[in-house]
């Protein structure tokens, strides 16, 4: 796999600082097209290791599209065409000899709407471990399921009904189940696409607390519509506008001293 020298990139459109001291993932000059329509224009940024990076911006600005490039979920869309350099631990994730299946085991994803499988809670969490053959016997699998549920803060609520269907849980519990399911595969990065947008404030608070704990072990990128949420959970914030990365920097800087007029307008609620 080729090692890329990733630091030298000319920035013409983004203000602030896109670089991280210890980058887990680096993206340089990413362009994404749906057919002939360009959805992402020349985006470059780093995801800092064991920190939370929030991607914010108005609807349709391409933040979800960008997130889905990071574990090659856009491969499933025929008309989607991606160029640029995407590296995980200095390895090109779009290299020809890289298997997207293995990549997705390293870069997990939590979706906007909770989407547990119509299987039992246990089978939901065990799904990834089973397909990747992570465990050798039932006892080990039980262990993985229990620790994953514990890390997702769900174990105490469901320990007596692991055989019940996952779809029978409340919305917030379902989303934590999806997080547990993702954790069970032991990924290095977790991508979250508006994980709390379908949840009530209490469930949202629980998820946010969870994200804060998870960053100890995982590198997290989260797309969110809520600026308060970005301010609460993230260390770095990237502001997208019409497919371009307008500004990126430390979260407290972005929210207190935005450098770009567009960022300022957005976070002060003048539009978006």
């Amino acid at each position: 796999m080729k090692n890329l020298d990733i630091k030298q990139v000319e920035l013409t459109e983004t203000v602030g600082n896109i670089y991280a001291d210890s980058a887990k993932m680096s993206i340089r000059n990413a362009d994404v097209y749906y057919g002939s329509k360009q959805a992402i224009h020349n985006v470059s940024l780093d995801l800092a290791k064991n920190q939370v990076t929030a991607l914010i911006g108005p609807s349709g600005c391409g933040k979800s599209t960008f997130l889905r490039c990071l574990n090659r979920m856009n491969d499933t869309i025929d008309i989607c065409n991606i160029t640029g350099e995407f590296t995980l631990d200095n390895q090109d994730i779009y290299a020809k000899n890289l298997d997207p299946v293995l990549l997705r085991a390293r870069v997990g994803m939590v979706f906007q709407k909770p989407n547990p499988f119509p299987k039992s809670i246990y089978d939901n969490v065990a799904y990834g471990a089973r397909i990747h053959g992570l465990t050798n016997n039932k006892a080990e699998l039980d262990e993985v399921v229990e620790t994953s549920l514990q890390k997702a803060g769900l174990f105490n609520e469901v320990k007596d009904r692991l055989k019940d269907p996952g779809t029978g849980l409340s919305g917030g519990q379902q989303q934590r189940l999806c997080i547990a399911r993702t954790i069970a595969v032991s990924p290095e990065i977790i991508l979250m696409d508006e994980p709390a947008s379908a949840l009530d404030p209490i469930a949202t608070a629980i998820i946010e607390e969870l994200i804060d704990e998870l960053k100890e072990k995982y590198t997290i990128a989260i797309v969110t519509h809520s600026m308060q949420q970005a301010a609460r959970v993230s260390q770095h914030t990237a502001y997208f506008h019409l497919g371009k990365l307008v500004e990126m920097g430390k979260t407290e800087d972005i929210f207190t001293h935005p450098k770009h007029k567009l960022t300022e307008n957005y976070i002060t609620g003048r539009f978006g």
Binding site: M109, N115, P118, I131, C178, V185
Partner: protein, 472 residues
């Protein structure tokens, strides 16, 4: 007026009353500019008026039409002279037929002249009777026309009298529409019941001459009925087991071919194929379902069966020239599109979120299909298979041509067998008396077939309910 004309007039009246109801409601409101005063829209008044005009009149027309024949017959018979009324029922029927054909073939004037010109007394009497019948029919027609039109007009007038600003036209028309919907579903259920009952009664008739245990557990099928009491070989045996065994054997072979191939086609088309290929391949596949079964039949008999025989003989097996295997394979080919098309719909209907969740955790595409998509689509897939099975069980033409008529009780797919539907066809085609056990056996077979498919359906539903993974 005759019925089609009356029906057309009634339709026009209904359309007119829609307009009339609207106008009247506007008048009640005090003009177009005050229509806000009405609790319901003028169109709703119109709709209600139209329904009130059309429905009762239409109902009367239907009831009248169905009762007309019977009542006229009754009335007419009482006018006949005593010596004709005392005829046996068969002779009376013949006589009545005669009169009916006279009445419908001759104009009333010719009949009257014939009465006077005819010199035979019997003929004179017949012409007189025919004339009476014509008069009766004429009266009935007048009565019908008057009744229908009066009912239509009177119900509209009665309704319009009740119009006021707060008249609940919307609620009333909703109630009527709901009633119509209930009636439609009742028709479907009643038709099914009617079919079951008619088959059941004929079967009971059959079981009077052949014991039910002989029919259900007998292993010999040679449907013969004696034309004369002293006929040699006139007693047949009616054991249905070989027929059902043959049906199940052929169906099993067909499903063995159609289910795996159909499912794999469905998976390929829904998950792997490009949109372009799918747009081309799906209609092409459905062409398979559109080929007439007779064409499949001679394909099976002339192409597939000889190939199977040649291959079998080169392997040292003895193959009948008409084999269950040939029929089953061709039937399987025919029902592939049933399985593939409906299964593809079921798989495509699984929410994309589930697929993405699985792929997002590093599952391969085939793991996603097997572990997530197929379980979630199971009810639809089982439905598709069930439809294919009932299609296979009911299929007749291919079997007639490729599997033969010999009712062998065998599990060897290289033998010739026959199926229930084929036997029903052979029992009922040609000149048959409808009260001999031979023809009645067809109804008993039909009943058994019905019970079998019903049982299969219930079983499959149970299986689905147990193993389905319900997504919402």
């Amino acid at each position: 007026m005759n019925s089609p004309l009356l029906f057309t007039v009634l339709l026009c009246l209904t359309l007119f009353s829609y307009w009339y109801g609207m106008k009247r409601s506007l008048k009640v409101a005090g003009g177009n500019e005050h229509k806000k005063n009405l609790t319901c829209l003028p169109q709703q008044f119109g709709l209600l008026t139209a329904m009130v005009c059309g429905l009762p009149a239409l109902m009367t027309l239907l009831i009248f039409n169905s009762a007309e024949q019977l009542v006229i017959e009754q009335l007419f018979t009482t006018t006949l002279s005593a010596n004709i009324q005392s005829l046996s029922s068969i002779d009376l029927g013949l006589y009545l037929n005669n009169i009916h054909s006279l009445a419908s073939s001759e104009a009333s004037k010719t009949l009257l002249t014939n009465i006077n010109s005819s010199n035979e007394l019997a003929m004179q009497e017949q012409y007189k009777a025919a004339s009476t019948l014509q008069a009766l029919k004429q009266q009935a027609r007048w009565l019908k026309t008057a009744l229908v039109l009066v009912i239509a007009c009177v119900s509209v007038i009665v309704l319009i009298k009740k119009f006021s600003l707060t008249f609940p036209a919307r609620q009333k028309s909703e109630t009527i529409i709901r009633g119509l919907l209930v009636a439609s579903s009742a028709i479907a259920i009643l038709t099914t019941l009617g079919i079951i009952l008619s088959v059941l009664f004929e079967s009971i008739h059959f079981f009077k001459s052949v014991p039910i245990s002989d029919f259900m557990f007998g292993t010999q099928w040679s449907p013969q009925a004696a034309m004369r009491t002293d006929q040699v070989g006139g007693s047949g045996s009616f054991g249905a087991i070989p027929l059902f065994a043959g049906t199940l054997l052929i169906t099993f072979i067909a499903m063995l071919l159609a289910v795996p191939i159909g499912l794999m086609i469905a998976i390929y088309l829904s998950q792997y194929a490009s949109a372009k290929l799918r747009a081309f391949a799906k209609p092409m596949l459905e062409v398979l379902a559109g080929i007439p079964t007779v064409v499949y039949g001679f394909f099976a008999a002339l192409t597939v069966a000889p190939v199977i025989r040649n291959v079998g003989e080169s392997l040292g097996l003895s193959v009948a020239s008409e084999s269950a295997l040939a029929a089953g394979l061709v039937m399987g080919t025919m029902i592939i599109p049933f399985v593939s098309s409906l299964s593809e719909d079921a798989i495509s209907a699984v929410p994309n979120a589930l697929k993405e969740a699985s792929l997002g955790m590093g599952a391969t595409q085939s793991e996603t299909v097997i572990k997530v998509l197929l379980p979630a689509a199971l009810p639809g897939i089982v439905g598709a298979i069930l439809l294919a099975v009932s299609r296979a069980i009911g299929e007749t033409m291919i079997v007639v041509m490729a599997a033969g008529m010999a009712a062998n009780l065998t599990a060897n797919p290289l033998d010739s067998v026959t199926t229930v539907t084929v036997q029903i066809v052979t029992l009922l085609t040609g000149d048959q008396e409808f009260d001999s056990p031979k023809t009645l056996a067809a109804f008993a077979l039909g009943l058994m077939l019905f019970i079998t498919t019903l049982g299969l359906n219930v079983l499959a539903l149970k299986v689905v309910r147990k193993y389905r993974e319900q997504y919402d």
